[in-house]
Amino acid sequence: MTRTSPLHDEHVALGAALTDFAGWQMPLRYGSDVAEHTAVRSAAGLFDLSHMGELEVTGPGAGDALDRALVGNLSGLATGRARYTMICQEDGGVLDDLVVYRLAEERYLVVANASNVEVVRTALTERFAGRTDVRLDDRSLATALVAVQGPAAEAIVVGLVADQDQAAAVRALRYYASVPATVVGVDALVARTGYTGEDGFELFVAAADAPAVWRAAAQAGQPLGLVPAGLSARDSLRLEAGMPLYGNELDTTTTPHDAGLGRVVKLDKVDDEGAPLPFVGRAALEARAHAVPARTLVGLVGLGRRAARHGYDVVTPGGAVVGTVTSGAPSPTLGHPVAMAYVTPEVSAPGTELAVDVRGRHEPVRVSTLPFYRRER
């Protein structure tokens, strides 16, 4: 079954090239994916992320239940703040990477990747079993998510908020924080989060309200250079920003540490008695934190013009296979190909000269730190 976004008619009217993504028909691009990418770096892009999953966790035990279910410390999150975290298996493998918002003392919003909503919902249901102090509600289909990303995003989003106090609150939002506001007359959760490496906002609204918000943002942003942007630009933007994509850099065979994200695993979490909190995956991740890694995630800068792609072998100048590319594309911002790859530790130092087997030819690459692109603040 293919689902369509509540903004489907908008995409069709804009002439979007649509693509099947995680069971949803979503816009791949509206015109030129490079132009959409560039607009986000220089002005703003408007994204439909309604395929993402929204799971609401409420109740007096919500924070504790999430601390036991996820690798992060969610009960320690201040109301109004958000955190990037992960849900892992007992063996430490990543089931999904998540952004969790604390909306109130006893209310959290867990945002999951579209492809993993059912996996996350099932895992949370199991992990919350037997508890009467926590409740899980899947709001995914009732919720639309519209993102405005880019240096002009603040001006655009603030301009959609009529109430002056709310507008000031939106303007004052810190990165990874959210505030409820009335946006073009509809209730929205306005969050300063994103997946592009730029400043930007994500607006959670009721599905029925999404077209009004989308159109208002498009209209308000147009004079500032905003363009609608599809999944293709989203992918090249997040790759430049060195952000992992589930299914590429992360999967159930990968631990957070493999991906260079060991910092999201909070081994110092404790229960009410001060004993180590037994969150799912704890033992495996504790062992992994102190082990020599078998592989490590690095950036690769292409020295030629041909881009490495997901699944290609990384090889030494002598031809020995030392890793696998997880994501790769030409970087519109930098003008040369970039890629992320898992490689063995001995070839992971920045500056190491390697090659990628691009359909039988060895294209030279150089190991680099991530991200490839960092915005000026």
Binding site: L28, S32, V34, A329, P332
Partner: protein
């Protein structure tokens, strides 16, 4: 971006099921269709055979790389490469902007053609 719907394909050209077009002439010019250019997205790299190379109808003679994917270029004809569009190699965006004009790829001295479609047949193929 050329946005000719398949029903408005240039009728003077012939086409392949792999989305190449062929213009009659000596040598014959080949390129990829607007349908292919549109599906690929922004083209960023072209790998084409050298002048003087012989090519065989229906076989892979090059690569077309876009931001999102890589696609193979098949030769619609057998023959010898007479000219390569170096302007398009230097600026592959020409293929998106004008796939039937400035974005042509190769000129080939044809010794034999492969299976070719009329514009109408190609339109039926791509809409199917």
């Amino acid at each position: 971006m050329a946005d000719l719907p398949p029903s408005q394909l240039p009728t003077e050209l012939q086409y392949t099921i792999e989305h190449e077009w062929l213009a009659a002439g000596t040598p014959s010019t080949i390129g990829i269709t607007s349908v292919a250019a549109e599906a690929l997205g922004d083209i960023v790299y072209l790998e084409l055979p050298a002048v003087g190379e012989t090519v065989t109808a229906g076989t892979v003679v090059g690569e077309i790389e876009s931001t999102k994917s890589v696609s193979e270029l098949f030769s619609p004809v057998t023959g010898t490469v007479a000219e390569v569009n170096t302007a398009a190699v230097d600026d592959p965006a020409l293929v998106n902007a004008d796939p039937y004009g400035a974005g042509w790829l190769l000129k080939i001295d044809v010794s034999e053609t492969g299976p070719l479609l009329t514009a109408e047949e190609y339109a039926a193929h791509t809409s199917g």
